[in-house]
Symmetry: C2
Amino acid sequence: MTSIKDVSRLAGVSIATVSRVVNGSGPVSERAVEKVERAIEMLGYAPNAQAQSLIKKRSGCVGVMVHRLGNNYYAELLNGIEAEIKAAGYHLLVSTSFFSADAERDCLRFLMQRQPDAMIVEPHGLADHEIAELSRRQSPFVVLGRQVDGVNGHCVSFANEQGAYLATRHLIECGHRRIAHLASPTITTSSAPRRAGYRRALEEAGIVYRPDWVVEADFTEEAAYFIVDQALETLLATEPGITALFTTNDNMAAAAMKIMRERDISVPEDISIVGFDDLEIASLLYPGLTTVRQPVLEMGQAAAHAALRAMGAERAPEQQPGQFEPRLIRRGTVKTIQ
Amino acid sequence: MTSIKDVSRLAGVSIATVSRVVNGSGPVSERAVEKVERAIEMLGYAPNAQAQSLIKKRSGCVGVMVHRLGNNYYAELLNGIEAEIKAAGYHLLVSTSFFSADAERDCLRFLMQRQPDAMIVEPHGLADHEIAELSRRQSPFVVLGRQVDGVNGHCVSFANEQGAYLATRHLIECGHRRIAHLASPTITTSSAPRRAGYRRALEEAGIVYRPDWVVEADFTEEAAYFIVDQALETLLATEPGITALFTTNDNMAAAAMKIMRERDISVPEDISIVGFDDLEIASLLYPGLTTVRQPVLEMGQAAAHAALRAMGAERAPEQQPGQFEPRLIRRGTVKTIQ
DNA sequence: ACTTATGGTGGAAACGTTTCCAGTTTTTGG
DNA sequence: CCAAAAACTGGAAACGTTTCCACCATAAGT
């Protein structure tokens, strides 16, 4: 790697002068500019970003922690984040933390050691107080997916409980009373509120909540297929059987629809389904998936905006809401019965 | 931010000693270890990764350039890359370069300035010679998606021409002769070979190639929907109409299926469809999408392995093939006619 | 008791930059 | 033509580390 020293030597000027022409700071004679530029060209010199950020106090990077990359939900989220961050001239340092508090701690430590100018994290395993403490170490700090008290920064979240409530209430309004719930693992932040929303809608309608009708499946689709398959096995065996299913996300709903098809159970004729998220797949499936819209892209953008604003970026847009609200999207997987 | 100096001061030892206990290098007395550890604990000290990699010659990061994040194809690819890279103790520095040579140059420059220990890039706009030249600046350098001559590193690619040939031949074998092709923009590396494979199958069967039957659509799904809609408008209007469609990827196929449904064109009764990639969505759609399997996850892993091997990582697996081969996956979107 | 290993320690150079300061040259205005 | 201002330049410190080297003890072998 060629350094600034090589350039200064070749150009016959001092290091300071090279630095000035590279950064356009301070006055430099035309003659010197020319010599330096020629030397840079010849050597293919590019400044070492590590050395730069060591002395300036900014790295030009935003650290991002999410669970996985290989998932349409996170793809969408990252898309929202990246577009905004990049437009403001920053770049992304991404790391994943599969579902475990330890992995999250490791991930965060790694990211923070690189001195990012801001952090955007989506914690699941970490407790609130730990997140709050961490947020004090890194100034712009935005947490995605939940509101945590005492955090030194911004939180961008979604009204999961209300979303699940809307989904379940919709099924109830369509005459369903035997409604199962395909839930995500309890470590997921959205898991508990979605279960709660489901339960609230049930109880509000005077329907008794049956714990054996909420079954847990993994978030990953590959695993989901088998687990959903197994879960449905049990669910479909009960007498009288369920007439509707509320799944904790669209991917699970898609897997459930496939499994039902394989078992000659018609959706929505035999069983109605409501998903969650309204990812692109929801509109591509047949029948179109009735679901609860979570504006994932916008949430990513909001997180990025919050970070940019806190960094004092020029292009920092106005304050966004901290919590996003759900909206029911009716398509073709719910049938009105009786 | 607390530095090693703060720790050394608090512990009452020299900077060198602190460094030794942090890294477990060199001999340190038990007493000193204890004092230093207590000081680290109290201050919450973590070494500055930038300073570290400035003097050691490694950063622990692998730079990755892909086009977009918000796409199931890239999500899968990144998943493959990240899992392997992370397992070897490295982390990802990700940046996207929307389809333009300039954006790719910028992206690469940014990434390389951070002195990654290796680079994994998926170029589209850049010419071969430029990539080859770039590869000489950064030692472990792996290029994804195409084989480029003279590159100083490894290439992981897919036999796109053959894949498109298989897809088209399958349609021909099922009796189709009026087959259209929904293609990706020409800047995409996979675009030309897939068009060529489509054409080869046609000509091999003595079917005349009609340029007006290959229409171009954007890679992004949102745009795809409208463009596919428009493209199909023209395609479906021709007399005698097409009986089959080969799309350049599964997302486009999914969009096409949706559009056909909206127009009361039955798949595969009225029109057969073959996709490309075999992403998860292919098996989730109804009817299941017949497609050409591209092992995206494995390709990501292969790229990561190549990088790790070149970095001399302990956990570097054996040599992977440079080019992956296609395989036709038959599901339900192709009907045998006549 | 005298050399020789050994364990422990701190000083200082180095990594590649930016930036302050002081110095030198050039320009400007009278 | 002279002083003052402005333009330009290079030296050196600083950023937070690691690591080489030298030093001092203490312990071990003759």
